[in-house]
């Protein structure tokens, strides 16, 4: 009896921090945000339940266009990151051995310990009108005058793909590393060429890594703020910037909260679909 009491006390003591954390900082704030998104100010200090904020999102083209644009660009950035990262991950996991392999893998990780702000700053120095690439182009005679490469969609894409790379390379290298060489050899022995081996052996094996990489990259891109704003300037039209404007600049918390929920819904829907398609659970792909 005594030991079971002690065990129960231990359980309660260990549960307490978890519950306080989750309730006070995650669950209740989101419930509160939902309630605020569902109210409308009818007079100073007087509020009514309504869907007006969500209705405003759908009737004001600027809002839903920004939303759709953010979603489409995030999906493209995810696809592009996968396309660029896959060959590199395969090279590191399967073509290299020993020291060089470990070194290159570490080299992939190190840039991402540096703040996103610093990385974006680097791209600004490279791409701006008076920047390095513009000067190189002029010097080699490929351009007649200064070239402004900031503030367009392609630049935003370069920055987003760059920022996301780590979260794609790590899961890909990990899953590809566990692929047995003999399976690939067997594929060739049975008469397959490079493409069939890639399609029927390598990609199916790497699928868990592809899915968890894509989920994380998509989520981070969708919620990104710095890269689109700094590299895209006024033309970035990113949804998180819209949320910021409503909350901090316009002080319209009701609309901002509704926007927050829409972004959260989109993000969760994509994560959920990805997990369903790959028959994985959240715990498996995160842990």
């Amino acid at each position: 009896m005594n030991t079971s009491n002690a065990a129960r006390l231990g359980l309660i003591l260990l549960l307490a921090p978890l519950l306080v954390w989750l309730l006070a900082l995650v669950i209740l704030p989101h419930i509160d945000m939902l309630l605020i998104s569902l109210r409308e100010r009818v007079a100073p200090q007087v509020y009514e339940r309504s869907f007006a904020n969500y209705a405003e999102f759908f009737t004001e083209p600027l809002y839903w266009r920004t939303f759709a644009r953010t979603a489409i660009m995030s999906i493209s950035a995810t696809a592009l990151t996968l396309l660029i990262a896959f060959p590199v991950s395969y090279y590191i996991a399967k073509m290299l051995r020993g020291r060089l392999k470990g070194f290159l893998f570490l080299l992939c990780l190190v840039p991402f310990w540096v703040s996103e702000l610093v990385r974006t700053f680097g791209w600004m120095i490279l791409l701006r009108e008076s920047g390095v690439i513009s000067n190189v182009l002029q010097w080699t005679g490929l351009a007649d005058g200064p070239v402004e490469m900031l503030y367009n969609d392609a630049t935003i894409m370069v920055g987003l793909v760059y920022t996301s790379m780590l979260f794609m390379v790590v899961p890909l290298v990990t899953t590809l590393d566990s692929l047995e060489d003999s399976l690939v050899e067997a594929g060739y022995d049975l008469g397959g060429n490079g493409l069939t081996v890639l399609r029927t052996i390598i990609i199916p094996h790497a699928m868990p890594g592809i899915v968890s990489g894509c989920i994380v990259v998509f989520m981070l891109t969708l919620g990104n703020y710095l890269t689109p704003i700094l590299l895209g300037g006024k033309s970035s039209m990113w949804f998180t910037a819209q949320i910021y404007t409503q909350f901090i600049t316009r002080f319209n918390w009701e609309l901002g909260a509704a926007f927050g929920f829409l972004l959260l819904a989109l993000s969760s829907a994509i994560v959920w679909t990805g997990l369903k398609l790959s028959r994985q659970t959240l715990s498996e792909s995160m842990g």
């Binding site: 900082l25 395969y90 702000l117 680097g122 490079g194």
Partner: protein, 284 residues
């Protein structure tokens, strides 16, 4: 497409070149940031004006160097203060959670585990605004009903600490739980059969075993807090942490002082990152 299978030479060359290009893409933004920290010019861009250490050491405007810029130094201190709190809190909660999920069985365990992972899939901006909304609701209620003005529940460093803690705890939990899972519980039982109490056994046997993971989690938590932008942006008060201050300067257009700062940050976080890798690799 593995070394043991012969491939045409041209394919190998192209593939190798692609990987080299990839690493150039990865490294070049960091290299230019570092190089322009030493440019003797008012702007971090070409033309190259010669080598100078002014952006670190000079003490007068307009070429104010980093070590004499009290506003930036203050913001470094604010970030450091916030990061220390976040690190301490999230490592403590991480250890507690690791023991809870690895050692205990209780109803709704799977549901709570899912909830524990949730902060990882919520965009940082939204975590920030939800905490901002909730703390304001509480502060407004207290002010209306009790007549107290709870200043710390308005945007402030306190809220920034809570906001960062809310998702960094998930990461520390995962790191520490992963190592606890590999622990052989018979070692703890041996300590107990040699006369140690349960707590003593955990403290003298299990915690030392967890030490690499705890140090690793602490470093990760510190860096993630120091470099966080999205959540911080929504909760920041009058004391600006470094990322917010840097963001302001970047938008205004800055002198190479910002490069000097970035170079220091790269050196510091690079060192910490390597340290965390080696600490966790040790004795695995």
């Amino acid at each position: 497409m593995i070394p043991s299978i012969p491939q045409p030479r041209s394919f190998r060359t192209i593939y190798g070149a692609y990987v080299v290009l990839f690493f150039i893409y990865l490294i070049s933004p960091l290299v230019v940031v570092a190089i322009f920290a030493f440019n003797d010019s008012m702007f971090p861009s070409l033309p190259w004006g010669g080598f100078t250490l002014d952006w670190f050491l000079n003490s007068t405007e307009p070429r104010l160097g980093l070590f004499h810029d009290s506003r930036l130094l203050d913001s470094i201190w604010t970030s450091f203060y916030i990061a220390c709190w976040v690190m301490t809190l999230s490592v403590a909660v991480g250890i507690s959670n690791a023991f809870l999920f690895e050692r205990k069985s209780f109803p709704l365990k799977n549901l709570l585990y899912m909830l524990m992972l949730l902060p990882l899939v919520i965009p940082g901006v939204i975590l920030g605004i939800s905490i901002l909304v909730f703390s304001s609701t509480i502060a407004n209620w207290v002010e209306l009903n009790l007549g107290l003005n709870l200043e710390f529940l308005r945007p402030s460093s306190f809220l920034v600490i809570l906001g960062q803690f809310s998702f960094i705890s998930t990461i520390t939990t995962l790191i520490i739980a992963a190592r606890l899972r590999k622990f052989d519980t018979s070692l703890e039982e041996a300590a107990q059969s040699l006369g140690a109490g349960k707590m003593v056994a955990v403290w003298t046997v299990t915690i030392p075993y967890l030490k690499p993971a705890i140090i690793g989690a602490a470093i990760v938590a510190f860096l993630m807090s120091f470099e966080n932008f999205n959540t911080t942006l929504m909760l920041v008060g009058s004391d600006q942490p470094l990322t917010i201050a840097m963001y302001g300067r970047l938008r205004e257009g800055s002198t190479p002082e910002l490069n000097a700062l970035s170079l220091l940050l790269m050196a510091a976080s690079g060192t910490l990152a390597l340290l965390s890798v080696f600490v966790q690799r040790d004795r695995k």
